[in-house]
C-alpha cells in the first residue's frame, strides 16, 4: 500500500515552527494541565474526532464550565497540597472519581456508590479531598461503572510535583531530573459502544466482544497527536504530544494506561530508563537505583510508569554533524581527529565519533523514497535536497524518531495506516529553539 500519511493539520505545525525559528528563545513548557489545589470538574458529553474523519460521542471531565475533554484535564498539584475536587454532573447517569495511589480520600455529598460517593445524574455534585502526600504520576477515573465510563472517556492524569526541585524533577531525587516532560496517556476505543450510548442504550457493554479499532495518546489519534495543542478544530481534545529535545538533554515520559488493554510502547532512537511505577521510584532506598532500561515498556491499564529518555549519538562511528577534515578543516585535523575549535555545543557525541566520515554512500534520489520527516541529509541540523512534494515536515532538519505502540495494529485509525498510538520525537540540533506546538 502506498504511504499517504495525510497531515491534515500539520500545516499548523509547520507555520509554528517557522515562527519559532525566527522568534527567539522560549521557556520550556511543562505538561499541559490545570493547577490546584482546588479543581472544579464537570462531567458532560461531547464528540471527539479521529484523524481519518470519525466522530464519536464521549463522556468526559470538563474544567468547570469548559467543554467536555478527552482525556479529562491533567490535574497538577504540589506535594503536600490538600487537594479538593468538586465534581458536578451534567450527564444522565451518576458519575464519580477515584484517585488510585492516594490515601485518605474523603467524599462529601453525593450518593453512596460501590467504590466511592457519586454525583447523581443531571446536576448532582460531590466533593473529594485528599492530601497529595507523595510526588509522582497518577491517574484518576470514574469509579462508577468503570467498565463503561472509562471507555466513554471519564479518565485523566494527576501529577504531583515534589517539594524539592518541582519544575525539573519528577521525584525530588536527581535520578528523576529532566529537561522536558511529556504525558503519554494511552487509551483505546471500541466505537460500537459509543454508537450504542449515542443511541440511548446505557447498557451496551459486552466485554466478550470488546474490539477496539482506535488507539490514542492524550486523547488524539495520529497524526492529530502532532498537531498543535488547543487546536480549535479539536475542541474536545486539547492535548497534543510532540516531544522535543536537544542531544544530551533528558526527556521525562509520564506514561499512563488509560484504557483496558496493555500497550507495548517503543521509543525509537534509544532505550529509556524506567525510574518509577505507580508514583513510586524504583528504589532500594537510594534514588532510582532499581531503574530498568527498556526499548519498549508495557503500559498497563490503571498503572503509570515514569521513564527518562536521553540521546547523545555516541558510538555511531561517524560525525553526526557531517564534519570532516575535508569539509571543516578548522574542526577536524588532517588525521581525522577533532581540534580544540570543534564546536563546544556539539560535544554530546564522543571524541571517537567526531570528524569520522559518513561510512556509506547513500543511493540516488531515484532509488529511494523520502520520508515526510526526513531533512534530505543524514546529518543533524543539515538540510539536503528532497524532491518537491516529499519531506517538508522537519523544518529545522532535526533527527526524528517514531515513538509508538509496537503492537503495530495499534498504529492505524480504523483500517487507515498510519495513525493511532504514534508520535514523533524531535531531536533538534544544538542552538535550535525547541517548538512546543
Amino acid at each position: 500500500m502506498k504511504n499517504t500519511f495525510i497531515m491534515k493539520r500539520a500545516a499548523w505545525m509547520l507555520l509554528i515552527a517557522a515562527a519559532l525559528v525566527f522568534g527567539g528563545p522560549r521557556a520550556y513548557a511543562a505538561i499541559d494541565g490545570i493547577t490546584g489545589p482546588t479543581f472544579n470538574l464537570t462531567a458532560r458529553a461531547g464528540y471527539i474526532s479521529t484523524s481519518e474523519g470519525g466522530s464519536y460521542l464521549m463522556w468526559g471531565y470538563a474544567d468547570g464550565a469548559g467543554l467536555m475533554q478527552y482525556p479529562g484535564p491533567t490535574l497538577i498539584v504540589n506535594q503536600g497540597d490538600l487537594v479538593t475536587v468538586n465534581l458536578s454532573n451534567q450527564l444522565t447517569v451518576p458519575v464519580s472519581i477515584v484517585f488510585p495511589g492516594q490515601s485518605g480520600v474523603t467524599a462529601v455529598g453525593g450518593t453512596t456508590g460501590l467504590l466511592t460517593s457519586e454525583a447523581p445524574a443531571a446536576g448532582g455534585t460531590v466533593t473529594y479531598s485528599f492530601t497529595a502526600a507523595q510526588p509522582g504520576t497518577y491517574t484518576y477515573y470514574s469509579g462508577t461503572r468503570p467498565e463503561l465510563q472509562i471507555e466513554m472517556g471519564l479518565m485523566g492524569a494527576l501529577i504531583v510535583r515534589p517539594t524539592v526541585n518541582p519544575a525539573t524533577r519528577a521525584y525530588g531525587h536527581s535520578d528523576s531530573q529532566f529537561d522536558h516532560e511529556y504525558l503519554f496517556l494511552l487509551s483505546e476505543m471500541d466505537p460500537d459502544i459509543h454508537d450504542q450510548v449515542a443511541a440511548g442504550n446505557m447498557n451496551p457493554m459486552d466485554t466478550t466482544t470488546y474490539f477496539p479499532v482506535y488507539w490514542f495518546i492524550n486523547g488524539r489519534t495520529a497524526p492529530d497527536t502532532m498537531g498543535m495543542a488547543h487546536d480549535p478544530l479539536l475542541p474536545h481534545q486539547p492535548y497534543n504530544i510532540v516531544p522535543f529535545m536537544h542531544p544530551g538533554e533528558k526527556v521525562l515520559l509520564r506514561m499512563i494506561g488509560g484504557g483496558r488493554d496493555l500497550h507495548p510502547f517503543h521509543t525509537h532512537g534509544n532505550h529509556h530508563k524506567v525510574i518509577a511505577r505507580d508514583g513510586r521510584m524504583l528504589s532500594s532506598g537510594v534514588g532510582a537505583d532499581l531503574a530498568e532500561m527498556a526499548f519498549t515498556t508495557t503500559v498497563v491499564p490503571g498503572s503509570t510508569a515514569d521513564a527518562i529518555f536521553t540521546w547523545t549519538g555516541e558510538k555511531l562511528g561517524w560525525d553526526m554533524y557531517g564534519y570532516t577534515n575535508a569539509t571543516h578543516p578548522a574542526y577536524c585535523s588532517a588525521s581525522g581527529n577533532p581540534t580544540a575549535a570543534y564546536p563546544a555545543d556539539k560535544l554530546s557525541q564522543l571524541p571517537t565519533d567526531r570528524c569520522k566520515p559518513f561510512p556509506v554512500t547513500l543511493p540516488d534520489q531515484t532509488d529511494i523514497t523520502n520520508g515526510q520527516f526526513y531533512s534530505g541529509s543524514p546529518f543533524l541540523g543539515s538540510m539536503g535536497y528532497i524532491p518537491p512534494g516529499e519531506g517538508g515536515y522537519n523544518p529545522n532538519s532535526g533527527f526524528l524518531y517514531m515513538w509508538h505502540s509496537h503492537a503495530e495494529k495499534e498504529i492505524t485509525n480504523f483500517d487507515i495506516f498510519p495513525g493511532g498510538m504514534l508520535t514523533m520525537l524531535f531531536i533538534e540540533a544544538p542552538g535550535v529553539t525547541l517548538m512546543e506546538p
Binding site: M293, A294, L316, T412
Partner: protein, 398 residues
Amino acid sequence: MKASRLLSLIGLQLIAIVLISFSLSEGAIQVQCPGDTDGDGLWTGTEVQPPNTQCIHLAAGDGFVTMADGHLQYTFGFSDITGVLPEDVMRTGMLAAEFPGPSIKVKEGANVYLTLTNVGMIMRPDLFDPHSVHFHGFPNAAPIFDGEPMSSISINMGSSLTYYYTTPDPGTYMYHCHVEATEHMQMGMLANLWVTPLQDGATVGGCASQKYVFNDGDGSTCYDVDFPIQLSGFDSNFHDLHIAVQPLPFALMKDNYPMINGRGYPDTINPGPLPAPVIDGETGAVSQKVSSMISATAGQKVLLRVSSLATVDFYTLSVLGIPMRVVGRDAKILRSSSGQNLSYTTTSVTLGGGESYEVILDTAGVAPGTYFLYTTDLNNLSNSGEDFGGMMTEIDIL
C-alpha cells in the same frame, strides 16, 4: 487460495519480472562492503576482509510459507543473498522471502555493513512498496540507519541501501521492515538479531564455555548453548486477502496462527528447514529455516533469546519443569545502578511486540527427558482451527 486466482497471478508474475528487469537502472543494485570488489559481499580470492568488519546482504520481497496445519500463506520477508553476485541478485532474491528472516548474529563493536536490496513483490505487481531494515533497539540510533521510513529513507524496487552499525551493546535485539509497519510486519518481515559481548572467549567467574550474554564481569550470564525464540502471529485472513488483491483488514486484524520462529507446533521441533512450500503444483523456495527445537545435555546452561514481533497480541511463555532465570531485558543486563544483580527466577515471561528477554535455563540436576516451552495463553496453543499446536516447542535434555 483458489487455483484460478493463483494461475492468473503467476501470469502477472511473469509480466512483473519483465517490468522489473526493464525498470532497473544500471548499478542500482550495489553492495557496499569494504574490501569486497566483486559486489557479492564476501571476501574471496585476493579480497581482504578489514579487521572487525561484517557484511550482510539481504533481499526484501515476497514468498510463501506453510502453516503447521498445512495452510499455504503468502508473506513478505527477507532472504540472505550474501555471496550472490549483483547480476544474480534479482533472480535469487525474488519469491524467496523467509519467515522469520535470516538470523543476524554480530559481535559487539563490529563494523556492520548491511545491504538491503528490494527485489519487489512478484505476486503483487500492482505494489511498488519500498522496504527498510529497522535494527530494533539499536542504542543512540541515527535516523538514516534506523529504517523508520517517515524520518529517513527507504529503498525502492530494484535498488540497494547499505546500513552501517557499530553494535556497541551486546544483547538480544530484533530486526524488521518498518515501511507500512502494520502491513509489512503482519506479512512477515521479522527476524532475530543478537549481539555477542567482547567478554566472550575469556574465562570469567569460572565460565568454561567462555560465552556470556553480557559483559557481566562476574560470569553470572555464562551459558553453554543459545537459541533464538521469536514470537509472532499471523492473521491468515489478512494474508489471504493480500494475495487476492483485496482491501486489507487492519481494524479486524486478529492473529490465528501464534508461532515461534515462524512455525506452529509441531513444526517448531523439526530440527531442519521446513520443506519448501508448494504453490499450485510448483515448488517454491525453502522459506522457514529457523528451528525452535532446543536440545542440551543435562548440566548445561541454555540461553533463550526471547523476543516478540507480534503485531497484535501479548504472549506469556513458560517452561514446565526447569526454572527460568531472567538475566536481561531489552538487551540490558539486570543490574542496579550500584551493581547489584537483579536477575530473578520465574516460571514465565510476558512480552508485547518489540520486547525481549534473555532467559537462562540451568539444567544442572534436571532429569533427562522432554520439556515444553509454551504459551500459557492456552488459546494460542493452536494452529488456526487445529487445537493442539501453536506457540509451543520442546526442550530435549539428553
